[in-house]
Structures are given as C-alpha cells and as structure tokens.
Amino acid sequence: MKAKKSSAHYNRQDAIFKSILISASLLVVGLFVALFLMLISGSMPSILGNGFGFLTGTTWDPGKGIYGALPAILTTIATSLLAVALAIPIALGIAIFFTEYAPEKAKFSLTLFIDLLAAIPSVIFGIWGLWVIAPLIKTYVQQPIVASIGFIPIFGGPAYGISLSLASLILAMMVVPIIASLTIEIISRTPVSLKEGMISLGATKWETVKHVSLPFARLGILAAVMLGLGRALGETMAITMIIGNSYMWPFANPSIFAPATSITSKIASEFYEATSAIYVGSLIELSLILLVITLVTNALFRYVIKKTNRGARRQ
C-alpha cells in the first residue's frame, strides 16, 4: 500500500519535472523560430524592394537606393576561409607539439596560453590589429609582395594595411585556439596500442603522428575546423575595426591587400545611419544571409561529427 502511494508520488514528481524540461527545450526552439521569423519579416522591405538583385548586386549606395550584397557575402566567405587556411597549419603544429613533443611541465603553460588567447575580447584584437599589425604587415609583407608579384591581380597594390588580408590574419589568431584545443583533445585520444604498433616497427615520433595519430584524428580535426569557421564567419568587432569598410573588394579591386566590407562589418558600421525602411531591411536581410551561411556550416559540422562517432564506434 505504502509502496504504491510512493510510486504514484514519484510518478507525479517525474511528470512535473518532465514538463519543466520540455518547456525549457520548447523555449529554445521557440526563440530560434521567433528570431528567424523576425529576421524574415524585418527583411521584407528589402526582399520586396530589392528583389533577387540584392544577392547579385555589387553596388551599395543608399543615397541612390541601390543595395547589392554580393561583395559583403563574398568578403565574409573569403576572410573566413582564408583565416581558417592560415589557422590550420598553426593549430595543427601546436596540437602535434603539445601531444607528442611537449614535456609535461610545458603542457600546463601551453594550455594556459591557448585558453587565454581564446578569452581575449575581440575588440582587443581589433585595436592591436589596427595599430600594431596593420602598419607592420603593410611594410614588411604587403609591400614586398606587391613589389614582386603585384602583377597578379589578387596580390595587386597599393598596400593599404587595413584590408581583407589583415582581417583574415587577425581572424586566424582568434580561430587558432579553437582549432588547436579541439585538435589536442582529439589527437590525444589516439589509442596507445596503435601508436605502439607503429613505434614497434621502428617509426620515429613524426612517422607515428603522420601514419597513426593524424589519420585517426582526421574527421575530428575537420569538425574542429568547421567550428573555427563558424567563429570566423560571425566575428564582428575586430573585423569592423580592421577590414577597411570599403566596398572595393572583389569587384573594384580584387587584391587581398585592398580594404573590404564583410556582412558583419557592414551591419555594425551602418545600422545607426539607416533611416529608410528599405535601408534597415537591407541590413536585416544581410544578417539573415549570415545566419543561413552559419547554419549551413553548422549542419556540415554536425554531419562530420556524426560520421566521426560512427567511425570511432566501428573500431
């Protein structure tokens, strides 16, 4: 009798608890749907007014009522991809050094620095990029490259310092700790038995990394890269400060040393100026596009993770 009563009691408690959990989850879903719908409705003046031309237009001139988003979309994609391309070798180098070569004592401080790097507010990266790195890379990287292979349009002059390439470089520094810390995690999960199998054949440390650890971590590293890419796509503050905010790239000037405007920097720098409904709508539509790009990246990331897990279970 007593047992029955208490089990009913627990059932009721369970039911209450469950409904709390369900409402919390529904809240998240609801928030996302609401956000999405609000972005769509906010974009309506632009979707109706600019039409499909918004996606293909290359001019942005609110004075004349012309809104073309293509340069911003391309800049966002290009800076993020370039940033990730720069970050991958550095992050892999850090991860391999950390897992295979670093003495235990060095590991502690290395972890600390990776975490610190990840925690630096992006406005600090922006300031540093603007005042320290921009003049440096202008003189020591951009100008020599322009002088030597500047005849290739994407490396053409003049060197501005603040530019698409500076933005990519700073983004790369922000992305390195993300990719590196995940890659460390993944590489250190390589089964010791596999590594010893390779070492017992007379392999050097590097050969063991190359033939065992990296192939083992392959998909996980790809997932880490996707995560880094997501971070790069959405970064706003630092980019707005160092990208130059000019609509030159890529149509007026295809050089990676030219200033450019990304989706995020466009929105951040113009939102307060936007007065007309179509101007505001155009900026909101830009954010909608960014959201879609981010969602696609995230879906890719999830797909890769799923494949990784399946692969790991098979072993």
């Binding site: 596999l194 010893e196 199998g197 070492i199 017992s200 054949l201 007379g202 033939h211 192939p215 083992f216």
Partner: protein, 254 residues
C-alpha cells in the same frame, strides 16, 4: 665476445617505472632460432622484460633501464639506435592492433614503407609473401583493399604477426598474443609460432602454462620482478628446481 650460439645476451637487467623497480637483475641467454616462453603471475614483470628488449620501456618519461642487452654481440642501449633495435626486434601485442586507416595489404608493409622506397609491385609481393607466411593469404586474397580492422580478432592478430615478420626481424617478441582469441585462432597462432623458429627467434609471454609447454624450447619463470628459473621447457615442467616454479606450473598459485 660474439658467440654464434647466443642471439640475445641479457646481463643484470633492471627496470623501473619511476621509483618502482619492476625488474631486478635479470640475466639470461637466448639461443637463435628457438622459442622462449616467459611465464609468471600477473605483475611479475613479463611485459616490462620484453619491452626492454625492443626499447619500448623507455618511451614513458620517468621509466629507466639498467644493465646490458646484447643482440648478436651489439649493445642495444649503447651501440644501436632505438629505431634500429625495433626494426630488428619485432613485437606482437596482446590486443591485435592493425592500423584501421590502412588496407590489409598496407598494414603488412607499413614498417617496410618507413625504411625503403620499394615500388608498388615489390610491396604487393611482400604483402602477399608475408600474408602467406601467417596463413592469411587464402582468407583475404580478395579483400586486400579492405581496412585491417574489418577482419576477425584471430585474423587481425595474424595480420599483426605478418606486419612484424615483413621487417625480417632477428627476434619477435609476443606479449600474450592469444589471450584475446578463441581456441581455433589460438591453435593457428601456436602452429605459426612453432613454424617461425626456422627463420627467427621468438620470445613469447603466456599466462597459459600448457601453451608454454606446447610451443616453447626454453621457459623463463618470473616472480616479483626476478627471474626464478630458466631452463629447457621439458626440465621446467618435469623437474622444476624451484618450489615456486613448481607451485606456479601446477596451478597452485595466484
């Protein structure tokens, strides 16, 4: 002091994990083309012992080795490079560990690929030859491109033996190679071990004293990091000198 009838001369070998001494003054001589079984209760230092012979023990920071090991008269700790030692002294592990990212054929020649730039045809030949040597060729002939992890446990272990054999090692160390396998696979590997000694010298750890009796010429009994008795397998099993050995082989022991 090169002696043709001594493949491996181990003198006063000590080994530590940090401060913990796992081997104490082990001395023994192993003749070429023999099978030596290493037996003893769990934790007595069998794995540590063979991992000193291919210089795997020193891989963990803090581990130490003292004493001398001569392979064909050459001091493996002073006259040879650790990578060189491991190419001459192959190893088969307790749990089969084929490389899952490599095909069956690539698994066999994984070690060879590290040393010489043999062409594809040669490598295929080497893969075939060594798969035949472990009796796996017929079973995998049509699946050479499949992952090494796609095989059964027993097949995987034979693949790992083929991988070690492909290096043409002077010595093959085996750490309980059949403890994770079914009886049929175990029987195949035991046959293989007996056949191997026409080419190479085998040192095999086993928890199964009957297995030691079936396949080995010599047996070494370890207890608490010391070598208690080392003799011809027949003498060890018929007339052990130490009461400890006797208790162990008659199963009256942990």
């Amino acid at each position: 002091m090169t002696n043709d009838s001594v493949k491996l001369d181990i003198l006063k070998l000590d080994a530590w994990f940090g401060d913990k001494q796992a081997l104490k003054g082990i001395s023994l001589r192993i003749k070429p083309k023999t099978v030596t079984a290493v037996i003893g209760p769990s934790g007595c230092g069998k794995s540590t012992f063979i991992r000193c012979i291919n210089r795997m023990h020193e891989l963990t920071p803090g581990n130490k080795v003292a004493g001398t090991i001569l392979l064909d008269g050459a001091d493996i700790y002073n006259d040879m490079d650790s990578m060189d030692v491991r190419r001459k002294v192959g190893m088969v592990f307790q749990k089969p560990n084929p490389f899952p990212n490599m095909s069956i054929a690539d698994n066999v020649v994984a070690g060879l690929k590290l040393i010489d730039a043999a062409d594809k045809k040669e490598l295929e030949e080497m893969a075939k030859e060594n798969l035949k040597a472990v009796g796996l060729w017929k079973e995998v002939e049509n699946d050479l491109k499949k992952s090494g992890a796609s095989l059964s446990g027993g097949q995987q272990q034979r693949l790992c033996i083929a991988r070690a054999l492909a290096m043409r090692p002077e010595i093959i160390l085996m750490d309980e190679p059949t403890s994770a396998l079914d009886p049929a696979s175990t029987a195949k590997i035991e046959e293989l071990v007996k056949a191997l000694k026409t080419e190479t010298t085998v040192i095999i750890i086993t928890h199964n004293v009957q297995q030691a009796a079936r396949i080995s010429d010599m047996t070494a009994f370890f207890y608490l990091g010391e070598l208690i008795e080392y003799d011809e397998t027949r003498s060890i099993f018929e007339s052990p000198k130490s009461p400890l050995t006797e208790r162990y082989i008659t199963g009256r022991f942990g």
